[in-house]
Symmetry: C2
Subunit: 352 residues, 2 copies
DNA sequence: TTGAAAGCGCTAACAA
DNA sequence: TTGTTAGCGCTTTCAA
């Protein structure tokens, strides 16, 4: 008879060949002749280990190719040092810079970004819901939408959420945006000063607070001066912006100034005005964008635009996230980062 | 005297208020009146749970706002469903598309990307070494450099490594690249057919295999036809490319055709030729890029270029990673994805 | 300065 | 179909 109560080794002890795992702290401990917790301490900054012990441990670790597992660490500490970044598909050249700056800023603080691309509109909850499973230390929403369900779920999970380049009214979610209203206003003022009377606005996506606010500031000032801007939707795409521009310029009373909700669309507008309507941009027509992303500075466009100071915005995001992680209470709710109007040659010269 | 051997509750049981953690499977189990493993099964696709039990569990989970922790799961399964993506700082508009496509492709397979930005050159090991601590299921290197140390460390850690848009000779690391040599050759052939005799190449970064291979194919064919291209380094930056272009065009025997190692630099070249030297691009001078990234198609540039088919390259990467994760042995070592020459108006018309 | 031990949230083998 | 149990790799008391 086989003994019933003496399994020679626990079945879990056996590992299949293919499932060989990396060396653990215990492996190192065994070789170095110390306890596993000593190994842990040797890899913890500012822990109390005798120099000689640490030395032995590091040698053993090196020998084995040991690296502390963030998984194990996260399980005990409850922190992952990972930050979720939700971002929508978009051609907007603003996003690459944003990702890079966020990655740099958080990277230097020891955080990594876990990327969640969502559809550019519609419901991004399915993918976003998953982010909580990763137990990210914070969630940054760069363009995705956040249902109130998910927002409150993050809240109760204690996961800080910061919106960048987006706002959601009423949810009490912290957000960092450029001064979209002020920028729209500044652009209106500038175009009015140039003497433009027939102006148009090309919107991005209607659900985007960014586009709405830019339009708001623009319209507000225009109407105050008795000008009612034309309007078309460009959908934040090159093709959408081209269609919008064509529609406006082929209309009965075409505008002599168009403000596009971002640089990307403005560039499409320049192409249409220049190559399809034979207009001299900055002369026959003024074109303005928003962002001051890379291509705005390229000579072929030389676009007048309102800057969106990414680095500063990212600093604010970092600041918000840090204070929320440290539990210094919720950060200031809506941070609006001022930009400035950059006047280039896509608009008429003042005094023309 | 106080009893020495009866700690009322384990000290670890106490949690500070601020450290409140999300609900666990045990919490759910307690409420649903089932075992913790039942909860686990209820959240595992294709596990064996009675419908009514699952129902109860899901209700309890919902009540508590429970979400299974990927940390715990990873610890037991040894898989994180996270893929590390190392990428260098760069303005190249190729990268944003690459990140997006990778994120899409892996996302639909249930993997997320963890971002590691590295310096564009120099040693990226410090940041890359850290990637192993995260126990990523695979590592994709889009531009970063990989020391042989780290390569072998990944190897022994069993972490699949795939290079995209990069090659490293001799390490036996799987790589997916565009047909850089073939592209360079195709461009040479095309320029020769146009009758160009004074041609130049503007390189990216010397350490980049991409730039080297493009140059290789280009030079090879050029020299075979008795043409020795001029050369300048553009460093993959806008400013570098401008300097390179100025140097070439201001030289004693300026080229009438320039091949830039990527579109980004070619665009800078167009600006310089057009606005600084008053040349008609596509007429006085032919300019060619490589990538067919977004701006190449913009009318103001309308750049002749060789396509780098990102989506297909990403498919290959996914394929490599999958087969390596499944342990189907190492994937085919160097995958070269053919592109095609796209002729636009930045080069002379054939037969001019 | 070090080690023992408990526990973090989960999966998986096994028994019931 | 369900529960029991061990264990994943680590940090953190606490005691020595």
């Amino acid at each position: 008879m086989t003994s019933k109560k003496k399994p020679a080794i626990s079945p879990r002890k056996r590992r299949t060949r293919t499932d060989s795992r990396p060396p653990t702290a215990s492996d190192v401990a065994r070789i170095a002749g110390v306890s596993q917790s000593a190994v842990s301490r040797a890899f913890t900054a500012g822990a109390t280990v005798a120099p000689r012990t640490r030395q032995r441990i590091l040698e053993a670790a090196d020998l084995l190719g040991y690296r502390p597992s963030n998984i194990g660490r996260s399980l005990t500490t409850g922190k992952t040092r990972i930050i979720g970044l939700a971002i929508g598909y978009s051609d907007n050249s603003f996003f690459p810079s944003l990702i890079r700056e966020l990655s740099k800023a958080f990277g230097s603080l020891g955080y990594r970004l876990l990327l969640f691309y969502t559809g550019d509109d519609g419901n991004s909850d399915p993918v976003l819901a998953e982010v909580l499973n990763y137990r990210v230390d914070a969630l940054i929403l760069a363009s995705a939408f956040l249902s109130s369900d998910l927002a409150s779920e993050c809240q109760s999970a204690g996961t800080p959420v910061v919106l960048i380049n987006r706002k959601i009214d009423g949810h009490g979610v912290v957000s960092v945006t450029a001064d979209n209203i002020g920028g729209g206003r500044a652009i209106a003022q500038f175009l009015l000063a140039l003497g433009h009377k027939r102006v148009a606005f090309v919107a991005g996506i209607d659900s985007s607070s960014t586009s709405r606010d830019r339009e708001l500031g623009f319209n507000e000032l225009m109407r105050a001066r008795g000008v009612v801007p034309l309007r078309a939707a460009g959908n934040y795409t090159l093709e959408g912006a081209k269609r919008a521009a064509r529609g406006l310029l082929a209309g009965p009373d075409p505008p002599d100034a168009i403000f596009f909700a971002n640089d990307h669309m403005a560039i499409a507008g320049i192409e249409v005005a220049r190559y399809e309507f034979g207009l001299r941009v900055g002369d026959d027509i003024s074109i303005v964008g928003f962002d001051d992303a890379g291509p705005a500075r390229w000579q072929s466009y030389d676009l007048t635009t309102y800057t969106q100071p990414i680095a500063i915005m990212v600093d604010h995001v970092v600041d918000c996230v840090r204070s929320m992680i440290n539990g210094d209470g919720p950060a200031q709710e809506d941070r609006i980062v001022p930009g400035e109007l950059v006047i280039r040659s896509s608009t008429r010269r003042p005094g023309n």
